[in-house]
Subunit: 202 residues, 2 copies
Amino acid sequence: MAIMGAASGRQRERIVSATGRLFRDKGYHGTSMADIGKAVGLEKGSLYAHIAAKHDVLRELVERGAAYFMDALAPVAAAREPSHVKLRLAMRAHLGVVAAHPDLAAVFLQEWRRLEGEDRERIGKLRDEYEAIWRGLVDEGICDGTLRPDVDRRFAALLFLSAGNWAYQWFDPYGALSSHDVADRFTDHILTGLTPRTSVDR
Amino acid sequence: MAIMGAASGRQRERIVSATGRLFRDKGYHGTSMADIGKAVGLEKGSLYAHIAAKHDVLRELVERGAAYFMDALAPVAAAREPSHVKLRLAMRAHLGVVAAHPDLAAVFLQEWRRLEGEDRERIGKLRDEYEAIWRGLVDEGICDGTLRPDVDRRFAALLFLSAGNWAYQWFDPYGALSSHDVADRFTDHILTGLTPRTSVDR
């Protein structure tokens, strides 16, 4: 029975994973239970034995995505490093999740809006918490002097998050640049700016 | 007859506009012809007299979005200004479209993936052209010396585009900051960077 349980767990995992890919490619509403069944080679009846409803899988995928992003960022936020270093590590962590879990990242960043009621509220709060950690890193940088005192914490954090979040639309895991390279290029540009460092009038 | 034609045109416009809002809120696949009919107070039969199919409206909305972004950027790209000024104006132009046409912007930036075949290919090309104009602005900046020579044109352009594109997810047209304010804050941070201008080791 224990073995059957494990096999069933693997089967369910296979279904959830295939569903993530479908939600990413076709959207939550564009994916039917029949599509999921076809992707994993199961009749609808067998499918319902593993997943009760499509929105349960959406909630599960969005929560997994949230957990990946949060688990990657938390140790960086707690690290004892100057905060410009922590911002670099945070960007690597964020893009590392986008690269390693592209389906989850896309579902978390885009399809979470298809959640409703309490589910949507809970995930909205998680997203706020995640963004608050980024603003905290910027605050640290302003305090420890590695960032300029006139930096706008909200927009500085948004700049990192926008670059990191939009990457799910274009980042190619098989491309020439690793997520680490991409993170460092964004971080270099964001920290140093685009204008010459000697410029006074920008 | 001419008056009937104009009235019919207004009715169609009302339908297309309501559909944009629905596509933004519920996604293309999450929006049914019945939803559209309900939003504009028309029976399905009358609705089909104005729009033949849902995907026709998606194509039209995505093309309108593309045209707005392109029409806003083109005069900036052609302006005779130092390119750090042009980048600022370009950011204002882009966020101006996000603010003035939030439904079109969201459909263009997100739901375009639901297009298929030739439609998707054509829009993909338009998106590439739009991004190429941004890379051109960065190139100009490197040439005219308003940007550092070691700036990575692709990532610098991506930084502007990521900040501008992600804004459709959070920008509030009724918020305290206008799209112009938001554009300038992003541009200031991107051009000047977050670290002190006297720093040498970033």
